[in-house]
Amino acid sequence: MQMDFIVDKEAKTVAITREFAAVLSLVWDAYTKPELLDQWWAPKPLTSRTKAMDFEVGGRRFYAMVTPEGVERWVVQKYTSITPKTNFKLFNAFADESENLELPGSDWDLNFSEQDGTTKVSISIYNESLERLERMIAFGFREGTMGQLNNLEDLLARLKNQDPGT
């Protein structure tokens, strides 16, 4: 499915829109239940490990992104507003393992709507500081790139073995 990704540098906002081939209640669950979130939230080869989560206004999800080597990067997402199966808002910030926040964070606004069994999710992320985004990418994406490189190496090795000329 096509993903819209619009960066408004002036407004310091990233707007992401994506459709999913599933009914709204299922997609809503995938965003709001820890056991489901942990299955998809972390871009491979990172894994997501939710330590605590209470999906209610004033509640939060406290989770770690974990590298294959076991390095943890903790994040807190505080829920500031919830309209069931329609919208929720959260404040996202890095933290240490004792849940002390590293500010500034970012404000997220997530909208859900369904049409003919397809669910559209629109996420707007307001970043007070690009520095935060930069750090997040430095952690998350480096791992992702390494994974891709490993995959490429495997593929090249396989192709080599298949080549009858060698």
Binding site: M1, M3, F5, V7, K9, E10, K12, V14, I16, R18, F20, A21, A22, L26, V27, A30, L36, Q39, W40, W41, A42, P43, K44, N127, S129, L130, E131, L133, E134, M136, I137, G140, F141, G144
Partner: protein, 111 residues
């Protein structure tokens, strides 16, 4: 107070974006830059200082004049970060596709 500048801050201001557009074409002296704006020279100097602190703009001495030029590489970095951020979300969502498909399959089998 120790203010750490970031690039979003540099490009959040319309005057600074205009300065960036100006000096992207050629290095300019502060006087030449200020001529393009209605604001005071002081105001322009302040914007230039912020751009330098963000490392988006470099200053070079040429004879008696100081010239300001754009650090193209730094501008590219902004787009690189954002491109990487986009990739994180793409990966995340394709993983969500898989999770949703698995749950749908499980539900069908239960019926």
């Amino acid at each position: 107070m120790d203010i750490r500048r970031d690039v979003f801050q540099a490009i959040a201001d319309p005057t600074r974006r205009a300065i960036i557009a100006l000096i992207a074409l050629q290095a300019m002296t502060p006087n030449a830059i200020a001529e393009h704006f209605d604001t005071s020279r002081q105001a322009v100097s302040k914007h230039l200082r912020i751009l330098i602190e963000c490392e988006l703009v470099a200053q070079k001495q040429k004879g008696r004049e100081i010239y300001y030029s754009l650090e193209i590489q730094k501008m590219k970095e902004i787009d690189k970060w954002l491109e990487q951020y986009r990739k994180i979300w793409e990966t995340r969502f394709s993983q969500l596709d898989d999770v949703l498909a698995t749950i749908k399959k499980q539900k069908k089998e239960e019926k």
